[in-house]
């Protein structure tokens, strides 16, 4: 086994947070985005998930990065893809019995549904209609599929919590 789930042996100071036995390590999250990562995944700890979070730890690649470790849960590809909106550089390590058995980079999906709220107060999705928010993913932002508003900055603030 390599240094705390890093198959390349790079020491990005992961040992600041504890190893997990089975679950997912979300690494190389941009510094300060860890809580948004949890929000976008709908993880708030109320279901007893065991979480380890490192924030603003030194990183060779990103200078400062966050790390999120979720014990007992393997993220689906859909969940991983949604992460790309706020953590485009993230790597996902699936861990079983302390070993990294899969490693993925996030990929930007074409569409995200039910994850973000439209910031346009005049959008039909902001009322009491029985409609799930839907955003198409652009190269440099997201776009509401209903009112067509484009959001390029602070996408994390739109996360439906």
């Amino acid at each position: 086994m390599s240094n705390d789930h890093d198959p390349h042996g790079n020491d990005d100071h992961e040992l600041r947070v504890s190893k997990i036995r089975d679950g997912t390590v979300i690494d190389h999250v941009r510094g300060g985005q860890a809580l948004n990562v949890l929000a976008i995944l709908g993880i708030d700890g109320t279901r007893g998930e065991e979480l380890s979070i490192g924030m603003n730890v030194p990183s060779d690649r990103l200078a400062r990065k966050d790390i999120v470790k979720v014990e007992g849960r393997e993220l689906s590809q859909d969940e991983v893809d949604v992460l790309s909106l706020i953590a485009p550089d993230a790597t996902i390590n699936i861990v079983r019995d302390y070993d990294v058995v899969e490693k993925h980079r996030v990929e930007r999906p074409d569409v995200v549904e039910g994850v973000l709220s439209c910031p346009n107060a005049s959008c039909i999705t902001t009322g009491n209609e029985p409609v799930t928010s839907r955003f198409s993913v652009l190269e440099d932002g997201v776009r509401c599929s209903y009112c067509e508003t484009i959001v390029r900055e602070d996408i994390a603030s739109l996360i439906d919590t």
Binding site: S122, C123, I124, N128, E148
Partner: protein, 320 residues
Amino acid sequence: MRHDHLITSKQLSRADIESVLDYASEIAADPSAVADKHAGQLLGLLFFEPSTRTKMSFETAMKRLGGDVVDMGSVESSSVKKGETLADTVRVIEGYADAIVLRHPKQGSATMASEFVDVPLLNAGDGAGHHPTQTLLDLYTIRENAGLDDLTIGIMGDLKYGRTVHSLAYALTNFDTRQHFISPESLRLPREVVYDLHQQQDGTGIREHESLEEILPSLDVLYVTRIQRERFPDENEYQAVAGEYQIDVETLEDAREDLTVMHPLPRVDEIAPEIDRTDHAAYFEQAHNAVPVRMALLDLLLSDHEADEDGETGDGGHDE
């Protein structure tokens, strides 16, 4: 044309537009040929915002096709007042009518509503978003007066909230056009619309201006919209720009003799009444063109839908 719903002019190809306009010309020439074509069919009119021309021209169009309308009436007298969602309203009316015309103050309302119904749904204005049927009658009027290719058009006024402007701009990218957008800084085209126009036309035919003066002599068509006083947070800000975007005979001294002046109406003071008497004025003709264009559109959509219901395939549509 073959679409289930008409939500935005972005879904219309050049061929779609030309098929509607050609058919509208046929109908305008001989309305009696389609007088009973949709006898017994009903069009549901759901107008959550005030409307005169759009609502009455749809009503006229359906009746001239031999059909009739059912009208929700005012929001104040409908179940909307009791808190009914739009999704529920359209699902109820789907059971009464063969097609639905929807105007609603929220952007994206027509897109959402179309996800809940199987009958054709026509967007008659969704907030500051789109108004594609207005665009078709605008294009019909432009084609009659100036043609649709090798066209230089100025679009002036409230470009930010003007849904007729957004829809027209998208549709014009199907043709060889140069579009000049003239507005105060505060009412420029939404960035979303500019983004789309650049995607559709590489941005080569799109220019934004604050003054009409510099491009007026090059225009084939000047499309004027109302500067909406109610959009300005400060009355002084409105007063500072409003006069700059009003046209009269003097303003048009440098215009080409064959300049066509259009306006989706209602106007307030942006076009002086003296222009009504000039050859430039096409806005009442534009309003009247709504009937044959909406007759053509309704016939095409209803015929397509009937063909689908009957399990037919192919183009459906009207008899050639």
